[in-house]
Symmetry: C2
């Protein structure tokens, strides 16, 4: 990939003189060590998932130099994070914390404000501070990935403890959880499963939430609330603090588990299927955040480029997709449901029988026999993930486009046929209009579902990038007009998404801004993240 | 009960002239109606549970005139709550919101600051705004009690929907939930089960949290988080806002249920029993917040006065209690575990068999056959409550003392033998020292338990009241020194409990105060609640 011409590096944050900035960095080097302050003045490298950059979004939807860090700093302790925060206040430098920076689809490692100093917490603060085999909890630092946590538990031989992992295991437990990510066991709602935070505030103080505020306690990871206001929530999807430690509950080994997969032939099966899924899900007969996936993404999940199937432009025609699906081990279908039953055999049998009877009410429903599938079939990745085993198979569909990158549209809806159909139709129409292949996957939570639509694009094709972004922006606006909002979004879309949560003349955003100004009077911490701009930035055209 | 001499009524809030205060109230009468502003200038009446006062704590541990309202106001809408808040800001009058004011054991209807204007939300804002039989959710106003919600669901014939109720069904869903109360089905963690708030801020603006901020949404009650900072938590156990609407999820009828009760003979059985309970609870074999109760409270739960069993002073001797227990239908024991298994018969059988095998490892464990118990036995109250059927049997043990009142000590600990034993010993020693009967009940959450110790006292006996308060204060301090903190506390003890959460030089309280000052610059909303004093009050000796 050619390295583009660049402006003089590093990109200094707006409003600060280059020399002052470099002098400030020199000061910080004295504080936390020369080698722990890295100026971003070399060519940007995208790397790949396992060796991803921390200076920008490796899957950028804009020009990659737009949202780029001026420098990256590596604290080794909570105290050093405090030092960095105080330094940022002194010099009015915007800083942007990441745990591991693998927030792909939502901005990767990029900061929201160009030229921010990225605080890469994960590199040196990567200890598992505790695994408690009696309480089924752990306490981790920002650099602990799902892989690392899983491995540590196996090493200790704690087979009674399970973790919950998102589709990709390389992200950090903290980064994923504070962005309110999801996984696929019954402990899939990571935010709901955490217990206790240590947070460095934007003015440099450090607090512990919940029972962590009680000296000598032994319940920080067991009881999330503590006494008084339960403030953890305001540190998720926000820019109010830097999380330096987090407690996480661990799932008890359920004593057995069994993946299952059903396929359904027609697009129109979506609505009746959702009506079947909802009551089964709410009553925990369907126990995990299952995915209901569209065949186009299933074909893409093989990891082959789209060009192997089709050489035309515009969305790949349905007959091509169905032919490709028909020739694969799973066979032709439109929807595939991946679920798992947990518990001993007779308990699983009870649930599986109920599911089977219900799912078969859809004409043409087919239960896929795993014995017929080859070992590298996507099914087995879902099987691992639903059993809390970290994986990266999911990355394969990113190969669909050359120089593949992706960005996500993630609206929330009830688990209902009408809602699923409306969102599907909206996405389909706009993908068609922009000539984009449509990858809808419904991730079914307890009473709601996130529809995750991943747009895969060639990051070196400016026109396709623009089409992806335009399509996303249209989907967000049209969905909001129908009452659907995103659960999470990409850095570039945060202003737009935040603006859809506008009830009562944007009362919630005004409230968020009031908190921001109280907690971060100099506006140094992740300005603009989740659409929240500090006073110094407001009304100056930073939104995009 | 004799009516005491009183100072000139109403008790005007400190710092305001009587005439100014009365003029301000007259102004408010014009705004929300004469009949909706009630000056508290009549003798205080304690009433009883179903007809409780809203002017003070009917079970006060201080003199009942200490924490007393100057007036009570009755808004009929969110707009009127906003009017009241703006009025309070204009006149710098402390206001104190209650939903129903049945927070017995934790302060009842009393305000923290003497002379506050109580905002009784429940009287006129008592609508069930929605019951959604598909999503298993509801949306309620502050005056909706657990009884009212239950009845409305039955009336609609929605037998597939269960509610979760605390021991007493007369409290409000909102009041109980914002104080982070607990119930006894698998949906017992009320805070975790709510979804969506409407909140009037201390400066008069109104926000909706979660998906509620998205106009036209249909997910406010299904997906709690929305987009951006998840702020609900800071409106629980706090004084940052007045909750005017709340969404609550409803449990699916599990398709069958079955209470069970085991007794254990010795005090020392506590530790091994906890070791047995913990893994069963975390893995949801024990599915609900069960109670493990001490025999003294079981005897008291019959509703007879202590004088029927014993006429001496000091703690009732063990042999008297055991003799009383032996003559009752359940028979003698020291600990009683009340649990429930949910689901169809064969699923329950699986869980009950596991529980039985484990519990019987304690020598002398006995499963009580419900068929041997009379209909008004306490067991059946627990049975109803664990099935989400509101009840008030639990009130009976308050009759233990003449003019019975009670106050709770509620520390959190891991579910562990060592912790249970330490807390039991601490409580026992201090109860003995103060000559108080000891009622410990362990309410076992998922990974932690609340030990709820209810001290029953004669509210007309100043000496016994003082002993109860002294005992509580000692328990709080000693427990904190051992690392245990309260999950919730009485108004009178909030400063003390908040001060135990002191990690890093009271960093959490300083943070709470920062939020308070940002959100409530005039300090009008529930000053002092949960130990959080607004700037105007700090350093002026308001703590107690
Ligand atoms: C193919 C594919 C599949 C995916 N599937 C899933 C999935 O199933 N579920 C899912 O949830 N995600 C999914 N993702 C998105 C993403 O990969 C994961 O969420 C990942 O775990 C996040 O990466 P991270 O931990 O490195 O987060 P980071 O990038 O470190 O953090 C994410 C953001 O949170 C904030 N943040 C991070 N750490 C802190 C901190 N300590 N204090 C304050 N703020 C902080 C920062 O703003 C940061 O930008 C997927 C991505 C891809 C490419
Ligand atoms: C015998 C006995 C058994 C009990 N068992 C239990 C139990 O099992 N579980 C349990 O949780 N509790 C229990 N309690 C305590 C109490 O009865 C319940 O918690 C009850 O539901 C609370 O009453 P309420 O809804 O009237 O709350 P309120 O008194 O209305 O509210 C409680 C507090 O919350 C705040 N508040 C209330 N409404 C709002 C609002 N709209 N906005 C902002 N702040 C607000 C106020 O500060 C108020 O003082 C028990 C009490 C007794 C006497």
């Amino acid at each position: 990939k050619p390295i583009k011409d660049r402006q003089r590096l590093p990109v200094v944050p707006q409003g600060i003189e280059r020399d002052d900035f470099l002098a400030a960095l020199a000061e910080l080097k004295v504080q936390i060590g020369n080698e722990n302050v890295e100026i971003n003045d070399k060519p940007l490298k995208d790397g790949w998932y396992m060796e991803h950059p921390n200076t920008h979004d490796m899957m950028t939807i804009l020009d990659e130099e737009e949202l780029v860090a001026s420098a990256v700093v590596y604290p080794s302790s909570t105290e050093e994070v405090q030092d960095i925060v105080k330094w940022a206040n002194k010099h009015r430098v915007p800083i942007f914390p990441i745990s591991m920076g693998r927030n792909l689809g939502y901005g990767g490692a990029a900061p929201r404000v160009r030229g921010s100093v990225t605080v890469d917490l994960g590199k040196r603060m990567n200890k598992i501070l505790d695994i408690n085999p009696e309480d089924y909890t752990c306490l981790v630092e920002p650099g602990v990935s799902f892989y690392a946590l899983y491995d540590a538990i196996q090493e200790k031989g704690y087979h009674h403890l399970w973790i919950d992992t998102p589709d990709l295991g390389g992200g950090s437990v903290i980064g994923n959880t504070v962005d309110r990510g999801v996984g696929y066991t019954p402990y899939g709602d990571h935010w709901a499963c955490h217990s206790g935070l240590e947070v460095v505030l934007p003015t440099g103080e450090v607090i512990r939430t919940g029972m962590g505020a009680l000296p000598g306690n032994n319940t920080w990871q067991s009881f999330p609330y503590g006494f008084g206001p339960y403030s953890d929530g305001i540190f998720s999807q926000s820019n109010y603090g830097i999380v330096t430690k987090m407690g996480m509950t661990l799932m008890p080994n359920p004593g057995g588990y069994e993946s299952f997969m059903y396929t359904f032939p027609n697009e129109e099966d979506l609505a009746p299927l959702m009506e079947i899924i909802r009551p089964l899900r709410i009553s925990m007969i369907l126990e995990n955040v299952a995915q209901l996936r569209h065949v186009t993404q299933s074909v893409a999940a093989r990891g082959l480029p789209r060009s192997q199937f089709y050489s035309g432009t515009g969305p790949i025609p349905p007959d091509v997709i169905h032919a490709a699906a028909a020739s694969a081990p799973v066979g032709d279908h439109t929807w595939a449901y991946y679920g798992m039953a947990y518990g001993p055999a007779h308990i699983r049998a009870h649930k599986l029988a109920l599911v089977d009877a219900e799912f078969r009410k859809i004409a043409g429903a087919r239960k896929v026999d795993p014995a017929t599938l080859p070992a590298d079939e996507y099914y087995f990745s879902r099987d691992r993930v639903a059993a809390g085993v970290p994986d990266i198979h999911e990355l394969r569909w990113v190969n669909w486009a050359p120089n593949g990158a992706h960005i996500a549209f993630s609206p929330v809806s009830p688990i209902r046929g009408t809602d699923a159909t409306r969102l599907f139709a909206l996405g389909k129409r706009l993908h068609d209009a922009y000539g984009i292949d449509f990858f809808p996957a419904f991730c079914v939570g307890l009473r709601e579902m996130h529809l995750i639509v991943e747009i895969v694009f060639d990051r070196d094709d400016a026109e396709r990038k623009q089409a992806a972004l335009d399509c996303l922006r249209d989907m967000i606006d049209e969905a909001a007009a129908m009452g659907y909002g995103e659960y999470r979004t990409h850095l570039v879309l945060m202003d737009q998404v935040a603006a859809t949560y506008s009830w009562n003349d944007n009362a919630l955003m005004k409230f968020n801004e009031k908190l921001k100004d109280a907690l971060d009077p100099n506006g140094i911490l992740a300005p603009g993240r989740c659409g929240i701009w500090p006073k110094r930035y407001r009304g100056r055209g930073w939104e995009m």
